[in-house]
Amino acid sequence: MSTAVLPRENYLNTDYGLRSWFLTTDHKRICILYLLTITLFFAIGGAFATVMRLDLATPAADLVSDETYNKMFTMHGIIMVFFFLVPSIPATLGNFLIPMMVGAKDVAFPKLNLASWYIFTAGGCFTLWALISGGVDSGWTFYTPFSTLSSNTNVTLAALGIFIAGFSSILTGLNFMVTIHRMRAPGLTWFRMPLFLWSMYAASLIFVLGTPVIAITLLLVAAERVLHLGIFDPARGGDPVLFQHLFWFYSHPAVYIMVVPGMGVVSEIVAAFSRKRIFGYTFVAFSSLAIAILGFLVWGHHLFVAGISVYSALVFSLLSYFVAIPSAIKVFNWTATLYKGSISFATPMLYAFGFIWMFTIGGLTGLFLAALGIDIHVTDTYFVIAHFHYIMVGGAIMAYLGGLHYWWPKMTGRLYPEGWGKLGFITVFLGFNLTFFPQFILGYMGMPRRYHAYPPEFQTLNVLSSAGASILAIGYLIPLVYLLWSLKYGPIAGPNPWGAKGLEWTTSSPPPKHNFETTPIVTEPAYNYSELEETAVV
């Protein structure tokens, strides 16, 4: 491939200057804007986690005060959930790939797409302002009445920041849904779509249906603080548990916003690197929708100890179990796709394997938490922390990194260094498991979350976890360095370095401004690898 050259004209060099970036309506450039923004937020959220893990290396509270520690875990949660995980795959890979995968020149509403980024950034600035001017200590869950009556930190500002950023999610989801409905190229029927599109469609559904509910909920919290209303104040007849219902009506489905796009990425990678059509394509496609829909019916499992009735707890528990069905369909079908496949272990594939492994652990421990008896034992312990980090970090971030590596040649025109890629994956994988597996045991032994000091018998496991966290931090720095390096020194990738199927690989890398020379016409199902002649250049 050394003789290849970059295409003379592409979306990166059509024009230069800040104006051409900050006023762009090109979905590919907007992807780059998001990529830079969320990487910044990831670093900030990671810094808070670093302080927490350092503090927890010893049982005594010797690094930060309890107030500071409360602010650390709150800001870690807010930044990571609302400003990194929720936008991660949709706003970057989704923005870049959805128009390319449907064979369109852009998303349905390009100006709205740019507006989404500005709204997101404005919300982020609001939240950062809340953080710099004193921080927030309510936990990312903003539980009332603490957040409305007791906390004297910047809850209002942070809530408004999330409220603003929510509009970005809504508009992004709206844009994607309309794009997938209306902008598909001739011949691209629903059941010829790549599974990434199905999963992005499902995630967009949650964006559109869930985000407005958290928006109004946080607006009520802010209004209650500013205007001294009593909507969640038990002393005046208000109901704090109502807040929990409204909050989790969004925030549980939000978990699926984080992980379902990741499942789409994994489907693409697994098919490309085992050179086979995804086993049970239709089932995998519908399981994304099933997860999105079921996700709206299980919020009550966050309230098992909040005094909800036994019968509703029973129903929520049962419905939570149902989520396991579409999730398991996906895991089994990815595994079945590998069978008799011609598998290559490139970095994206390693991340996909990482995802399947950690998602399985995270998902199965989710069933523990859906069981009423066990949930009461481990509520608000590190078991819960470990469980959702396996889904969000082990699952969503693994898929995000895998997808970033897989489509990096398409986005930049250059390949990342494969050896460093594998080293980065191994570091992330080991660091992650060392950080969070001990937390399952800690939680089961009874260590509560959100405390900055603990009894000495928990120290060994906590030291292991902190050590893992530092390995994980290095693991995230490695790709950051070599991906930046590859922008200038990486080998030229060519249009289709993986020999993969999909419309995005039929155009040059980086793609031209309008993606395709002529509107493509689709004549075959997705992942039609059986007809592939040449092997991948890996």
Partner: protein
Amino acid sequence: MSEIATSEAAHPAHLQHHFDSLQEQSQVASLGMWVFLVTEILFFGGMFTSYLVYRSTYPDAFAIASKHTVILIGAVNTAVLITSSLTMALAVFASSEGNRKSTVNFLTATWVLGFTFLVLKGIEYTIDFHEHLVPGAGFQMAGTNPGHAELFFSLYFIMTGIHALHMIIGLSVLLVILYMARRGDFSPEYHSPVEVMGLYWHFVDIIWIFLFPLLYLIDRHR
């Protein structure tokens, strides 16, 4: 659907670069607004849910509190908004017929009716204020638990306030649409901005159709 056929010369003035035809563009715009309205339903849904929960928890306090709302203004405003929906629908029809003068007239009528609604709502809020119905230190209500009655008025002000905010946004956008209509932008081929504006307007109207009975009418006879 082929893009090769779309040369620069044949490109209609209002067609954006990433669409093949005005028809496709208009379908996309409508679908976008429908999806947005679904979002809006969920947004108001959070408030309606809270309201229904508290209404069923404190039925007596809410019944007594709701009698303090100014039903005359509420009823007149309902009529005003329904009429504005009629004029909006007529404006959409006129623009699809390419009738510029009627489009402008009906859009103007819609704007005036919408503005009337806001003025009346403002008068109503002033009356509420003078009767000490605004939640906070000045809130007074005899004959029931004041905390629970205050809850009713908290929700009343939030729900009608956010509805009014939607009216203000609607009126602002309507001004732009009116300007475009006067300039003669719309034709039977291209009038999707009027149509999309109409969808939004009817939605805001429907929200009020639910707010009026919930806040003013239930248990009023008791």
